[in-house]
């Protein structure tokens, strides 16, 4: 018989159905390893839980985490009261809270080893599928699903078709995994992966760092895909050793039933920028060179790790940001913050004119940064969404941390010439 894809294997191991019921399009009930909610959605999840299941216990308090990461500084009454609701409920039910300054929930799940390859984690974040970078079936879910899940430990999932994507070729500085991710997003959006999963293969993929894998997988949501997986390998296993966690090998079957197979050649890939008003409006940087930028934010679950920020710092070193431009840095997690501090990256960026804000989701939820300006302000971020009006009324471009750094120096979209020295 036909074998199973990664998503089919993970779903199968979390349900009690026979092999015959594992096929694309079928809807199955699954048991969850982890259910989380953040400061947006979390308070509403709690309200729905208490209203519908009064006096109930949660299914397992050790498998629930609240991860305030959008607006954890609570700097207005409404947010502060919402935050309080989470803390009070969590205390009553003995649930872990990764509170103020801990950072983005989806990143903490791997940075702290809360979830491991083969697990299923549901949370109130549409980029939970970045966990596919570690072979975890992460999925975003709304308030209703999460309230149901913290009561029952269950969820439902429609098994997606899987597209096998083989990446051929290699790239070199200043091209990074963000350019790869943008290029792949453009192609997959054109191809159409709505409601589908993707598995990435190829020599370049198997040697990508965890951070690069996260960046690549983080743009699948922007093509309306369910998840992108980088099959776990020795790099994944090595990563989990820091938590003394042995990870099981989970791979798709040789004869897995893929809906399609695509080959993408990225030899000598250049630099790419997502232009307004959609993330998939990806263009080679040459087409937008010289566009004046007023505000730059380096951060988000796509490019907010210490590794990402260090790449920007290498360009900013011994340079100054342009006088007409503001540069904000929002590290993804407290762990990234510490790393940046220990090796002097923070000082390098501060000396260049950059500014640091508390760890978290950055401009995607406004909690750490706020609006970047009014109608005339043009912004560049290293994030994943530039939808019209999301970050502010003006245009927004998405690019890699290296391009963001070069642009910060010139005040207009620029190609980095060399690392600073």
């Amino acid at each position: 018989m036909t074998g199973f894809t990664l998503v089919e294997k993970i779903v199968k191991s979390h349900s009690d159905v026979s092999d015959e019921e594992i096929y694309p399009g079928n809807i199955l009930w699954i048991d969850l390893d982890l259910v989380t909610a953040r400061d947006y959605a979390g308070p509403q999840v709690i309200d729905l839980f208490q209203k519908n299941y009064p006096g109930s216990e949660t299914f397992d308090n050790d498998k629930i985490i609240f991860t305030p990461d959008c607006y954890p500084y609570g700097n207005d009454p409404k947010h502060a009261i919402d935050q309080e609701k989470i803390r009070v409920f969590a205390k009553e039910h003995k649930i872990r809270v990764t509170d103020l300054g801990s950072g983005i929930g989806s990143h903490l799940l791997f940075r702290r080893g809360y979830a491991k390859p083969g697990d299923i984690a549901f949370g109130a974040d549409s980029h939970y599928n970045i966990l596919g970078a570690l072979g975890i079936l992460g999925q975003g879910a709304g308030d209703v699903m999460l309230a149901f899940s913290i009561k029952t430990g269950k969820s439902w999932i429609k098994i997606p078709e899987t597209i096998k994507v083989v990446i051929k070729g290699d790239y070199k500085w200043p091209t990074t995994s963000k350019d790869l991710a943008l290029y792949v997003l453009k192609l997959l959006h054109e191809y159409g992966i709505t409601g589908k999963a993707v598995e990435f293969y190829g020599p370049i993929i198997s040697k990508l760092s965890i951070e690069d894998r996260v960046t690549l997988c983080s743009l699948i949501t922007e093509a309306s895909g369910v998840i992108g997986f980088v099959p776990p390998n020795d790099i994944t296993a090595e990563y989990y050793k820091q938590f003394n966690l042995e990870t099981k090998t989970i791979v798709a079957d040789e004869n897995a039933n893929y809906a399609d197979e695509l080959e993408i050649d990225i030899q000598d890939l250049g630099l790419y920028v997502a232009c307004p008003p959609h993330p998939h409006n990806v263009k080679p940087i040459e087409e937008v060179l010289g566009t004046e930028i007023d505000s730059i934010v380096i951060g988000s679950c796509t490019n907010g790790t210490a590794t990402d920020i260090k790449q920007a710092a290498e360009v900013l070193k011994n340079n100054k940001t342009h006088e007409n431009l503001r540069l904000g840095i929002v590290p993804a997690t407290r762990e990234d913050f510490v790393e940046l501090n220990l090796d002097g990256t923070m000082a390098t960026i501060l000396e260049a004119g950059g500014n640091f804000f508390g760890a978290g989701c950055s401009t995607c939820a406004r909690g750490q940064y706020g609006l970047t300006g009014g109608k005339t302000t043009v912004t560049m971020t290293t994030g994943n969404r530039n939808t019209q009006g999301k970050i502010g009324p003006g245009d927004v471009y998405l690019a890699s941390p290296i391009v963001a750094a070069a642009t910060a120096i010139k005040g207009k979209i620029a190609i980095p010439e060399k690392k600073g020295d």
């Binding site: 549409s126 149901f148 939820a365 969404r385």
Partner: protein, 169 residues
């Protein structure tokens, strides 16, 4: 609700790739009351700022490709339930949006080809779930839609996912 057949007037929002920030903007996420959500629906979608002023009760909304892509916010579903919209027909939906809608009891109908299917503001659509057919009763033209999976009908018939949770110990 009856899940064999529905019919109603139309609300046309024929734009592809409408994301949740265009349906209900991120700056409003502390709002949860359905009536308070309503006036903000499509507040960030160019050309649809007047959506709030129109009556959508018992209407079938027609959208394009990838409707509801983007964030997990439940409000982007709750708002349409507050308008008492019967169902949304689209080429395709963001997967999280689809799940959020089902869980709240809002029916989404996937109909590849709906973008080219002739519908005017004054038309009435009828959706037959037994035969998976959408009919424009004014023109008599029909289009096939994807069948609604049984578990989805079960959740919607139960009155939403939270009702099912009440049966769980």
């Amino acid at each position: 609700m009856s899940v064999e057949k529905i019919s109603g007037g139309v609300t046309l929002v024929r734009v592809d790739d409408i994301d949740t920030d265009q349906i209900f903007h991120q700056s409003l996420l502390t709002i949860h009351d359905p009536e308070e959500i309503k006036p903000h629906i499509f507040g960030n979608l160019l050309g649809y700022e007047n959506f709030r002023k129109e009556n959508h009760e018992n209407k079938i909304m027609v959208v394009g490709k990838n409707f509801g892509k983007g964030s997990t916010r439940q409000q982007a579903v709750t708002g349409f339930i507050a308008y008492k919209i019967l169902a949304i027909i689209g080429e395709s939906f963001g997967p999280i949006y689809y799940s959020n809608a089902v869980n709240s009891g809002l029916l989404l109908i996937e109909a590849p080809g709906i973008s080219e299917f002739a519908i005017s503001d004054q038309d009435t659509l009828e959706v037959d779930f037994v035969t998976s057919t959408i009919t424009n009763t004014n023109t008599g033209d029909s289009l096939r839609c994807k069948p609604i999976p049984k578990p989805v009908l079960d959740i919607i018939s139960a009155g939403g996912l939270l009702e099912l949770g009440k049966k769980s110990k």
